[in-house]
């Protein structure tokens, strides 16, 4: 049955409308979960609040297990789902820059907009810096094009690379995520106890 757009059940012209509705819902849930607070987001780096890790890893886990079960039930053709190609160099360099920006500014790009939506001054400055960064990146693109397209691996997946089944990967990911939740709970308890 799915994906609904590529299978022709929904007209591709609805793509942007659906994206807008999902974006609004995503922003609302981010704000409602407290992701508009830079102190809360930065807590993951200092060990006093791991809500970012819990929320995002839970979302990944639920979406992943949902896709595996939908595929088993033939409700979705998983081979038609778009897989982003991997550019190893830009992923590593971009990840380091994004991590530094996150720890310094207290926001990631998506959460900074939720901060702007409720009028947070630090989020406004962060978003201004974000657009400045986009401008610099676009202007300097010919110089960094080699890094941007470096280490292209194509649309690779962990399953293809290691030759394991989708179900086994899902199970291992769930075990790793739950282990991470238990570990961060222990870290959080120790950090908050020391602060008190």
């Amino acid at each position: 049955m799915g994906p609904l757009i590529s299978q022709g059940y929904i007209n591709p012209e609805w793509n942007f409308v659906i994206a807008l509705l999902l974006g609004v819902a995503f922003g609302y849930i981010l704000e409602a979960s407290g992701f508009s607070s830079s102190r809360r987001l930065a807590g993951v780096f200092y060990g006093y609040d791991f809500v970012v890790l819990r929320v995002f890893m839970t979302a990944v886990m639920v979406a992943m297990i949902g896709l595996v079960y939908f595929d088993y039930m033939n409700w979705i053709d998983i081979s038609q789902i778009f897989i982003l190609p991997t550019f190893l160099t830009s992923v590593i360099v971009g990840g380091v820059i994004m991590g530094l920006g996150f720890i310094m500014g207290g926001y990631c790009p998506g959460t900074s907009f939720t901060g702007v939506a409720i009028g947070k001054l630090d989020a406004v400055f962060f978003t201004a810096g974000l657009f400045l960064g986009i401008f610099i990146f676009s202007s300097a693109f010919p110089l960094i094009e080699g890094i941007y397209y470096g280490g292209e691996l194509g649309p690779v997946t962990v399953m293809d690379t290691f030759g394991i089944s989708r179900g086994l990967f899902a199970f291992l990911f769930i075990v790793a995520t739950i282990s991470a939740f238990i570990l961060v709970s222990w870290i959080q308890k120790r950090v908050t106890k020391n602060e008190v």
Binding site: D71, L168, F171, I178
Partner: protein
């Protein structure tokens, strides 16, 4: 920790354990509906019975004939060298071509020609295979019914027909002899022009010397 968290952990772990036992699916990429529609409207996939007969007679190594009728019909009569892939055995329950047939249908450089009694079933097989991104597929126009009419029992054209029709008739009679056997003699109506004989004078031995 809240009891709800324990419940959620057990639930997601159970679902994860269940996922371990799911069978692996093999996916075959499909062409877009627009491209399939375009190819379906293109009649270049059809080959005539005469073209098929010529390829068989010439023992074309790139020819691969596939009989899409039932195995019973295939057992009673088929074209020489044809393989039987019935329509109802081609795809599995979810409409994907069975992997055992892919090896036969996806040979690089081979011309795969489907045929059935008419060309309806063969054309359905062509659509299914083309949808699964397989190339070099053709359908024998009219199927075995047209094969019987044109190759096995060719009709003599009227005497006012153009030369091409007579040439085709001669080819069909020859093909009929090839496939059925027997002793059909091909008699050409073309009368050879009389070549005038030129008598040359006998060379005489040179008499005398310089």
């Amino acid at each position: 920790m809240n009891k709800t968290y324990y419940f959620l952990i057990i639930l997601i772990l159970t679902l994860g354990i269940g996922a371990l036992f799911f069978p692996e699916k093999s996916y075959i990429k499909e062409i877009s509906p627009e491209l399939l529609f375009y190819k379906m409207n293109n009649p270049s996939r059809f080959v005539t019975t005469d073209q098929v007969a010529k390829l068989i007679i010439e023992s074309d190594p790139t020819l691969f004939l596939i009989d899409t009728r039932s195995s019973d019909q295939y057992g009673s009569f088929s074209l020489p060298g044809a393989m039987n892939i019935p329509l109802d055995e081609l795809v599995d329950s979810i409409g994907i071509i069975c992997p055992k047939w892919i090896d036969y249908l996806d040979i690089e450089g081979m011309k795969v020609i489907f045929f059935s009694n008419s060309d309806v079933i063969a054309d359905q097989v062509w659509v299914i295979c083309t949808r699964h991104e397989l190339d070099n597929l053709y359908v024998m126009r009219g199927g075995l019914n047209t094969w019987a009419e044109t190759i096995l029992m060719p009709q003599k054209p009227s005497e006012y027909s153009p030369d091409e029709e007579f040439a085709l008739y001669d080819f069909r009679r020859g093909a009929c002899q090839y496939f059925v056997g027997g002793s059909i003699s091909i008699k050409s109506d073309v009368v050879a022009d009389q070549v005038p004989r030129v008598r040359r004078k006998k060379k005489t031995v040179v008499a005398g010397g310089c």
